[in-house]
C-alpha cells in the first residue's frame, strides 16, 4: 500500500503524481522502489478522478462490515 500512500501524499499537497515524485517520497520513507510498480501506479491513476475514487467506498471497505457485529 506504500505506493498508494505516496500517491495520496502527493495528491494532498497538490504535487504531480509522476515517477520522480513517487520515487523520491518512497526513498525518503526508506522503501525499496520497484520501478514497474511505480510506472503501473502512475498508469493506473492516469484516467482516474482521485478525489472521487477516494470518496467512493469500496466493497466492504472501512467501517461498512464493522457494522455487522
Amino acid at each position: 500500500m506504500e505506493y498508494i500512500y505516496a500517491a495520496m501524499l502527493l495528491h494532498t499537497t497538490g504535487k504531480e503524481i509522476n515517477e520522480e515524485n513517487v520515487k523520491s517520497v518512497l526513498e525518503a520513507a526508506g522503501a525499496e522502489v520497484d520501478d514497474a510498480r511505480v510506472k503501473a501506479l502512475i498508469a493506473a491513476l492516469e484516467d482516474v478522478d482521485i478525489e472521487e475514487a477516494m470518496e467512493t467506498t469500496a466493497v466492504a471497505a472501512a467501517p461498512a462490515a464493522a457494522a455487522a457485529p
Binding site: M1, I4, L45, E52, M54, A61
Partner: protein, 294 residues
Amino acid sequence: MAHVAEWKKKEVQELHDLIKGYEVVGIANLADIPARQLQKMRQTLRDSALIRMSKKTLISLALEKAGRELENVDSLSDYMEGQPALIFTDMNPFKLFKILEDSKTPAPAKPGAIAPADIVVPKGDTGFAPGPILGELQQIGIPAKIEKGKIVVSNDHVVVKAGEEIPPKVAGILTRLDIQPLEVGIDLRAAYENQTVYTADVLTIDEEKTLSDIQKAFSQAFNLSVNAVIYTRETMPAIIQKAASRSFNLAYNASILTSETTDLLLAKAYAQMLALAAAAAEINDEAVDDELKE
C-alpha cells in the same frame, strides 16, 4: 404597632438573623406533606439545610426587615403559598431544588388538585370484574371493555391534562385504579441568592437535555478534530482510519493491486463474471456451460 406578643418579635428576629446568616434562602410550600415525610426530609438535609415553618405574617415581616440590608430578599414573600416555610442553606439553589424534587413521593389524586403532568390511564387489565365501574370508566371517556371476564382498558388514555384540575369523579376512579398522579413533598417555590431570586421554573433542571448536550459537544469536538485534521490522542485512530480507508478506496476503485486490494479485486472480477453469466443464461441457456451454472 399594637402591643405585639413577645414571642412573635423573637421569632421575626430569629428568622431575620437566619436569612442574613445563610447564602441562600428558599421559600417553600409544605401544604399536605405528611409529617413523617417532612421529618425524614429534615433528617436527610440535617447538615446542609435548615427548614423553618412559620406564620405567613412573621415570615414576610422577617423578609422585609432583612430586605433593608439584603437587597431584594423581601420579594421572596410574593411566592408564599399554602403552608409556607423558609429554607436556609449554603448549597447551590439548583442543587437544593433538585434534592427536594427528587425526594417527592407519589400521592393519590385529590379532587380539585392541579395535575403536575398529563394523567394517563394505561392500556391493560384493570383487575376489576364486570360491573357498574365499566360505565363509570366510559363516562369519563376511558376506552374500557370486557374481555375474558375482566374489565380491560383498550389503549392509553389521558384523563387529565397537565396543569388542569382533577374533577372529583376522575379522582375517585384514579384512586380505585390505584393510580397516584400527584406528588407530595417540599415544594420549593423560589430561592434567593445575593440579590437574585430564582423561581421554580428557572430552578428546574432538564437532566436529559444536559446529557444529550454533553454528547452533542463530544461528537462536535470529534467531528471538528477529524474533519479539520487536528491531531488529538483520542481522535488519532479515527483520523488514521479515514486516511486508510480513502487510500484503500483509491486502490480498489482504480484497480491497483496492493497487499490489501488484490484478493478483493480478484473477487470482484469473479463476481462480475458470475453476474454477467447469470444475465446471459437468463436469455439463452446454452450461452453458459453447466459447470458455471453450478
